[in-house]
């Protein structure tokens, strides 16, 4: 159905789950098909030391969530905020490996992370 990389992340998602009292969290939904992604962050010295995701969605949505967490983990908040949907898609084999109508699934990943970072930044420290 999908390529090896997508199927691997779908079957063995990295960093799936939640964090107790996260330093930041964000949720993005997909109005098109009703999917939902939730990101939890642990931040230390401006670095993402841990990240978890929960996703309700298709195979691509789960795979992109998983890839996003691997890209963000260990990065500074500034670096992580720059992760785009293309970075995620490239990790999964590139643009032509994902059906065009599935591109929006990676946008929710980008969005959820953005919201989680914003949430961290506005929290009183």
């Amino acid at each position: 159905m999908y390529n090896k990389q997508i199927m691997d992340h779908f079957q063995n998602p990295r960093n799936q789950g939640s964090l107790e009292r996260p330093d930041g969290e964000g949720e993005a939904g997909n109005p098109v098909c009703g999917d939902m992604m939730h990101i939890y962050l642990r931040v230390k010295d401006n670095k993402i030391t841990d990240i978890k995701f929960q996703t309700l969605g298709c195979g691509v949505a789960i795979a992109t969530s998983s890839v996003l967490t691997t890209l963000a983990k260990g990065k500074t908040l500034e670096e992580a905020a720059k992760i785009t949907k293309m970075d995620i898609i490239n990790q999964l084999g590139g643009k032509d490996q994902i059906p065009p109508q599935k591109f929006h699934c990676s946008i929710i990943a980008e969005e959820a992370l953005g919201k989680a970072i914003a949430d961290y930044r506005q929290k009183p420290k």
Partner: protein
């Protein structure tokens, strides 16, 4: 590992007895049924044999059968040509259908709306069944044709066709039914149903793809959709698909004699599937009326998960099913059928359709009952909408 195929509403394999009958017509007896020479006449005889088999199944006259490429063509032909003709002849411009028809009926209706027709899309309620009272009230002096499916392809609910057709007749409204999903399991005798038109596709009852038929009651109007040769009594131009038609004939004859047994077996398997899954998976809902439905259809909603991810996970276990989730449709539209039941949007999101067939065994069903629950647990664990007990 062999695939456990539980998607018979999508298509069925060609029965080997059907295939055997078809094979000679590809090479040895390849004649064009319109040719005058012997080869052509042999092909023509084979087609007429199939026509009688189809007529036998429908309790119709052979000349009331028009072979074509399948129900998409059949539904387009009946609805468009009858609607346009009666508009031209009598100025009638109202049509009735249901909200849960197959896309090939709904989109045909929508295209007629653009031509200026008025179309009533009858609701179905949570049971997934058109109410005769709603139907009666929708009939107007402007109504020319009603088209209501016999059984639904997604949730398997059976519509009260005989009753609806009787109401239509009282008001001199022509009645068409798309019987594609019904053929395998239900009585399709046109006089029992009282319909003016009925359409079928062979590949839903163990015949080949790309061939189907229109039943048209003698005297009911119809004009050709495709223009060309004089085939099918000038009603459907194009060289006859002889092997396909022979296959349809054999498949329909087998259905006629084996229908009762098919229903019984399908009923046993799908009941076990429904009970087994309901026992093992909490927060599971059954879609569509539980009694008035095809014996081979189980349609469920598994809450807090998405259908495509369920489907891929089952596919990895060699189990083939389908879903009404928006994520798995090319258009990203959730199933219009599940939405028509008036249930929350999420219900289509986590919906799965199992449709059993004549080659399935109880072992297949037990495998699904064993394999699906861990898949559901895994995906629920991942889901932000699932309650804490699933995490």
């Amino acid at each position: 590992m062999k695939t456990i195929y539980l998607d018979h509403a999508a298509t069925t394999p060609v029965d080997s007895r059907v295939l055997k009958k078809m094979l000679p017509y590809f090479q040895d007896q390849f004649g064009n049924a319109s040719s005058v020479h012997r080869l052509g006449q042999e092909a023509s005889q084979a087609v007429e044999g199939a026509r009688e088999q189809a007529a036998g199944f429908l309790g119709a006259k052979p000349e009331e059968i028009i072979f074509n490429s399948g129900a998409t063509e059949g539904n387009n032909t009946v609805i468009k040509t009858v609607a346009r003709l009666l508009k031209k002849q009598k100025g009638l411009n109202h049509l009735i259908t249901s909200a849960i028809e197959h896309h090939c009926v709904l989109e045909t209706m929508q295209s007629l709306e653009k031509e200026g027709f008025k179309v009533t899309y009858l609701p179905v309620g949570q049971q997934g069944i058109v109410s005769p009272e709603d139907f009666r009230q929708a009939l107007t002096p402007q109504t020319s044709l009603a088209s209501i499916m016999y059984a639904n392809n997604e949730i398997g609910t059976i519509q009260p066709i005989a009753e609806l057709a009787r109401l239509a007749k009282e008001r001199r409204v022509l009645f068409h039914t798309d019987a594609v999903q019904a053929a395998n399991y239900l009585d399709c005798r046109v006089n029992q149903l009282g319909v003016d038109y009925l359409t079928l596709s062979a590949h839903k009852f163990y015949g080949p793809k790309g061939v189907g038929l229109i039943y048209r009651r003698t005297g009911a109007p119809l004009t050709p959709y495709l223009h060309g040769g004089a085939q099918e009594n000038h009603l459907r131009a194009g060289t006859l698909n002889v092997p396909g038609i022979v296959g349809l004939g054999e498949a329909i004859a087998l259905t006629r004699s084996e229908q009762a047994q098919r229903s019984k077996q399908a009923g046993r398997l799908s009941t076990r599937l429904r009970v087994g899954l309901t026992e093992k998976i909490p927060d599971l809902l059954i879609n569509g009326d539980t009694k008035r439905r095809l014996p081979n259809n189980v349609n469920i909603t598994i809450k807090y998960v998405e259908g495509e991810s369920l489907l891929i996970s089952l596919d990895l276990k060699q189990i083939a099913v389908s879903t009404g989730s928006a994520c798995s449709s090319g258009s990203l539209q959730p199933s219009h059928v599940i939405l028509a039941l008036g249930v929350p949007k999420e219900f289509s999101h986590g919906s799965l359709r199992f449709t059993v067939g004549q080659d399935n065994t109880l072992d297949d069903i037990e495998t699904v009952i064993k394999d699906l629950p861990p898949i559901v647990s895994r995906l629920r664990k991942m889901s932000p909408t699932a309650p804490a007990k699933y995490h």
